[in-house]
């Protein structure tokens, strides 16, 4: 049985924020402008993004509500009544609440009745894990359809006050993601039948390497020498925050591994006969930064497995890096704005630096027979 992505949707909160205005929203740590900002923005190439907080650091829309808006947008463009949704599969890096699962909150916000629920937990790849759970659920005949939503509200972590609470100077690893991540949600509708021009899911394949590499991106992990393994080990949460254990961190020195593992996975898929690079018509790759696009491209070229640059599609530069929501937001905009034809193939790729989980997906454009 084939499974099709028959509709997509997104929600990007508020007006786009350009590079000059980022610090107006996120705030200046200890009142001082960042010295890293320009360098990191130049490297990632992002020109504008959206935030679900305002300059007074009030949350303008919750993560659950953003997810629900993306879901509504997706359903509004599809043919399926909300009442008929059988499964809801949801991903985020951090919900509004620690518990219960994010999926429960999104279901309530959407007003979906009697669905089977799945929440996947992780960082960028969590959306693909949620999608895979839904895809296999429908493919196995457990459900006739599934709504998959990925939503991120990272900006709450980037308020200047968070860094101030953690002490005097902000180190590079803690500041890096402040200029990378932003907010948004994307949604996909899966059905057993095609609708007009839509995407058939040929396969989804994840390859995780957590056993071989250290943690690369984290929240809740105290710095080495703190004597605690987790933010929850501190006597009070205030002490964990003061020690910087609640800052979102990226060990940038490990990021080169992500490029190598991404290329390794693609070579593996080529070897298995799942991917033929000359038959890929569109590549949708969730690279977090323009810098990595070049690195991936160079390494694929070196291997003689390059996908020509004109086949690469992204909206990173105008919509921002929205973590797990990125690929869905990208596919949604691709569907609505790009030219593609029946039989075209799409290779989607989401590398996650958290502890190195890479997920690939292959789609074929199909047309509903009239």
């Amino acid at each position: 049985m084939s499974v099709y992505i028959t509709s997509t949707g997104h929600h990007l909160p508020g007006e786009p924020v350009d590079n000059a205005r980022i610090e107006e929203v996120l705030g200046r740590v200890h009142g001082k402008p960042s010295r890293l900002k320009r360098r990191i923005l130049k490297s990632n190439g992002i020109r504008q993004r959206h935030y679900a907080i305002d300059a007074e650091h009030r949350t303008t829309i919750g993560n659950d509500a953003m997810a629900a808006r993306a879901g509504e947008d997706c359903l509004a463009q599809g043919y399926l009544a909300k009442l008929r949704i059988e499964m809801l599969s949801v991903a985020t890096s951090q919900g509004d609440l620690v518990l219960p699962g994010f999926g429960s909150m999104v279901q309530a916000e959407l007003g979906l009745s009697d669905v089977e629920l799945n929440t996947s937990h992780g960082i960028c790849s969590s959306s693909m894990m949620a999608l895979k759970a839904a895809y296999t659920g429908v493919k196995a005949g457990e459900h006739g359809n599934a709504l998959v939503i990925a939503s991120e509200l990272a900006s709450r972590l980037f308020k200047a006050s968070r860094y101030e609470a953690a002490g005097a100077e902000v180190d590079f690893d803690a500041e890096f993601l402040r200029w990378m991540l932003s907010d948004g949600a994307g949604a996909l509708l899966l059905e057993k039948r095609p609708r007009e021009l839509c995407f058939r899911i040929d396969w989804i394949r994840g390859i995780s390497h957590a056993d071989a590499f250290p943690v690369c991106m984290s929240v809740g992990r105290p710095a080495a020498g703190e004597g605690h393994a987790s933010w929850q080990d501190y006597p009070t949460y205030a002490e964990a925050e003061a020690a910087g254990a609640l800052l979102i961190r990226q060990d940038v020195r490990l990021l080169d591994h992500l490029v190598k593992l991404g290329v390794d996975g693609l070579l593996r898929l080529i070897d298995e006969g799942r991917v033929a690079v000359d038959k890929v018509d569109h590549l949708l790759c969730h690279y977090s930064s323009h810098y990595f696009r070049g690195k991936i491209f160079d390494m694929l070229t070196q291997a003689g497995a390059a996908i020509p640059e004109q086949k690469w599609y992204t909206n990173l530069y105008s919509r921002g890096n929205t973590g797990c929501a990125s690929l869905f937001i990208m596919l949604d905009e691709f569907r609505r704005t790009q030219r593609y034809a029946e039989g075209d193939t799409l290779l989607c790729f989401v590398p996650e630096s958290g502890r190195f989980n890479n997920v690939y997906m292959h789609l074929t454009v199909v047309k509903e027979s009239s």
Binding site: D271, T301, A303, G304
Partner: protein
Amino acid sequence: MNSKVTTPAGQECLQGLMRTWFEFERQLGRVPVIQRLERGRFTLEDHRRLLLHLRQQVVEGARWITRGASSFDRRYTDVRSMVIDHAREEHRDYEMLEADYVAAGGERQALIEGERNAGSEALHAFMMYRASQPNPVDLIGAMWIIEGLGQKMAGDWARRVEAATGDDGCTRFMRYHGENDDAHLDKLYALLDRVCRDAADCRAILRTARVVARLYVLQLEEVDHD
């Protein structure tokens, strides 16, 4: 950037070599001494022990390269020349390693008296055996792993060792291998086009790369077994 390898057989082989390398890096990430290095738990004593164990294999390195050179017959004189050049460049690099060991507080006598660990023993024996075969084109697979490791040592390990031990006087050996990397790798790519002509060549090269990678990991695992 252009593809450095141009023949179809060479390109297929390069893809396989890249995958072998990535797998090797993951295996390295599971070795205790390398985990300590990557997680900031590495001590000067670890560094001395690492150098002591590496030295017993590095000191033999020139032997398999020169043995390999002599195994190429007249049809491969160009390859033989390249291998001889490579041997000449590197055949005394262990002296640098020894100086690093002493700079890190080790006794030279311990190095000289040191024995190959189980992994070094297996690696050395395998390399000498392969190098003794007629026209051992598969040695390029071994060079791929060892050159790649040189690059990794220079770019990543040396920095981590220095950060962990607060000492930059004992990483010259590790750093040295980074200096001529691009030139070495270019030679390797050219060699791949030259010697990998069919599926059998490709299989042999990948197999040797895989065995060398596995035995190298064994050598590093043994660092904590003495």
